[in-house]
């Protein structure tokens, strides 16, 4: 299954903020975490992640600091800020509303589709 570009983009910010509530992290680890959480269905590109991180940093929803990784390289770590948590809570409400709305329709749809599925099989 391919998740559409628009949907990936729309869900990126809340997903990223939510991952950062688990603790500070860096780019590569965040992408790994997204893949892991979605069972491989969500594939983030670097061109999506880094501009998003920088934008959220500019908006003050995450903050970043440079540190040295275990291998002795420069690594940029990101943390969620209180403002980011507020934003995340808002996003959560919005996504829940979308989910609830769609959920009701899915149920109706399943009833409507069942005969067709029966006919196909």
């Amino acid at each position: 299954m391919q998740i559409g570009k628009d949907l990936v983009a729309a869900s990126a910010a809340p997903l990223l903020l939510a991952i950062l509530t688990e603790g500070e992290s860096y780019g590569y680890a965040i992408i790994q975490r997204v893949t892991e959480l979605s069972g491989g269905q969500l594939e983030w590109s670097e061109g999506l992640l880094y501009p998003l991180l920088h934008r959220l940093e500019r908006l003050g929803q995450v903050e970043a600091s440079w540190a040295t990784s275990d291998a002795g390289r420069r690594r940029k770590y990101y943390r969620i800020t209180p403002q980011g948590r507020t934003e995340l809570a808002e996003q959560q409400r919005a996504w829940k509303a979308v989910d609830t709305t769609l959920g009701q329709l899915w149920r109706n749809l399943r009833l409507a589709l069942t005969p067709q599925i029966g006919a196909l099989s």
């Binding site: 780019g27 590569y28 992408i31 880094y50 501009p51 003050g60």
Partner: protein, 456 residues
């Protein structure tokens, strides 16, 4: 792990190094981004070598995973438009030779702009009774040419932008042409002075095109205005030399150069310079790349010193300037300059840079201007009521209120930023919203003030 392939540091390090260099050379990519992406690349390489790939193989696969450098650079550039500005490649046409593109059309626009100024000036020079409206008309026509140029250059939506420009400039032209102004013509002068301000905000919307509603993009326009100003000053300096030499050369052969200078060189130069400067800003973004932050860094302390010195002098001598209209106007000018410098500094600031001394200095500058404003206004408070509300005084006071309000908000956001309470972008947004208010105020002075004060 003895069975792991022997690391070949030289080979892979070299390849990573080359990858870094290529990425760094791309527009919109900062050194910190390269470090961050290198860390990412090495994350992939580490995971792949653990799976049993040789470092070389791992490098190749990792580069594939990170994706094309072009795509990443474009994605980063879209987020950091300010950075892109400095590196002069636009996302939509990344042609390397953009510096000379559109030279001929630009010269056409410049010629039209020059002629638009030239004919009214020539008329005014030859007729002593030239109507004042000629000046307003020239101003509006020049604005229209600049707007047309920006629509062409920025590929703004033609119909919408042209309609907005035509309606706004048309309303200005009609009101100024038919308002029955009477002596002493204060409101007329005020309206004329405020037309450029309102037009500057209008041109911002034209410049931004479809993105005119996006607060964050307005900072690009502020940057554009700042650099436009620098180019205009440079062109004016060159123009001064040109005029001087023209005078000298023609005098040598016994021809009076005055007509050539006043009717041709100066008016054509003024009109054309605006277009040429606007074109240069866009075409040669890289030339002024480091100039904006440097200029901001040089002049912010100087103006801060000026304001502090003036405040100190007032304290020491105990003399508060005599309260009259001129004082209000001078203070307004101080606030305009401080706000301009402040806007310019803010727009020249690097994205996501940590809090630094220049941010603190901005706060000192803004605070000094505000204190000065409060001191002078309170000294004048008694006097202002005595004379009643003349249009000039009301305009100056309103101006003062708008500017001081903008700066006070700035100070508040700066403090919040310095204390880590709010991101810098909050300050940027505040300043952009202040621009809207200043534009609206200018429209009020142009359209509402004259009838309000019986066109005096």
């Amino acid at each position: 792990m003895t069975d792991a392939p022997a690391p070949a540091p030289s080979g892979i390090e070299e390849q990573v190094e080359r990858w870094r260099r290529e990425l760094l050379a791309r527009a919109g990519v900062a050194p910190d981004d390269v470090d961050e992406l290198e860390d990412h690349l090495r994350g992939h390489i580490g995971a792949l070598t653990k799976l049993g790939l040789t470092p070389d193989e791992a490098f190749l696969v990792a580069v594939q995973r990170v994706g094309s450098q072009h795509a990443i650079a474009a994605d980063l550039a879209r987020e950091h438009s300010g950075r892109l500005w400095k590196q002069h490649v636009s996302v939509r046409d990344s042609a390397a030779d953009g510096s000379t593109s559109g030279l001929l059309p630009m010269l056409g626009f410049a010629a039209i702009a020059g002629l638009v100024v030239k004919f009214p000036v020539a008329y005014a020079l030859q007729h002593d009774d030239a109507p004042f409206f000629l000046l307003v008309a020239t101003l509006l026509l020049l604005s229209a040419v600049v707007a047309a140029f920006l629509i062409w250059q920025r590929r703004s939506p033609v119909l919408a932008a042209a309609a907005a420009v035509t309606v706004t400039l048309g309303v200005f032209a009609l009101t100024q042409a038919f308002y029955p102004y009477v002596d002493p013509f204060h409101t007329r002068l005020l309206a004329t002075m405020h037309i450029p301000i309102a037009v500057a905000v209008l041109l911002g919307a034209v410049y931004l095109g479809t993105q005119w509603r996006e607060v964050d993009r307005w900072l690009d326009y502020v940057r554009f205005l700042g650099e436009l100003f620098i180019y205009l000053v440079l062109i004016a300096l060159g123009g001064g030399v040109l005029v001087g030499l023209t005078g000298g050369v023609f005098s040598l052969v016994g021809i009076d150069p005055r007509v050539i200078i006043t009717e041709w060189i100066v008016p054509l130069g003024i009109g054309g310079a605006v277009i040429v400067a606007a074109w240069l800003v866009e075409a040669k973004k890289s030339v002024l790349e480091n100039m904006a932050p440097v200029l901001a860094a040089v002049f912010t302390p100087l103006f801060t010193l000026l304001l502090l010195g003036f405040l100190g002098a007032m304290l020491v001598t105990g003399r508060i300037v005599d309260a009259n209209r001129d004082v209000l106007i001078i203070i307004d000018l101080v606030l305009v300059v401080v706000l301009g410098l402040h806007l310019f500094s803010v727009s020249a600031r690097r994205d996501n840079a940590p809090v630094g001394w220049s941010d603190r200095l901005q706060l000192v500058l803004v605070a000094a201007a505000l204190i000065l404003d409060v001191v002078v206004l309170s000294a004048m408070a008694g006097r202002i009521g005595e004379y009643g509300a003349t249009p000039n005084k009301l305009a100056a006071l309103g101006e003062n209120l708008v500017l001081a309000g903008a700066l006070a908000g700035s100070a508040w956001y700066l403090v919040a930023f310095l204390r880590g309470k709010r991101p810098f972008v909050a300050l940027e947004r505040w300043l952009v919203r202040s621009l809207y208010v200043i534009g609206a105020w200018a429209v009020i002075v142009i359209l509402v003030f004259p009838p309000l004060f019986a066109f005096r």
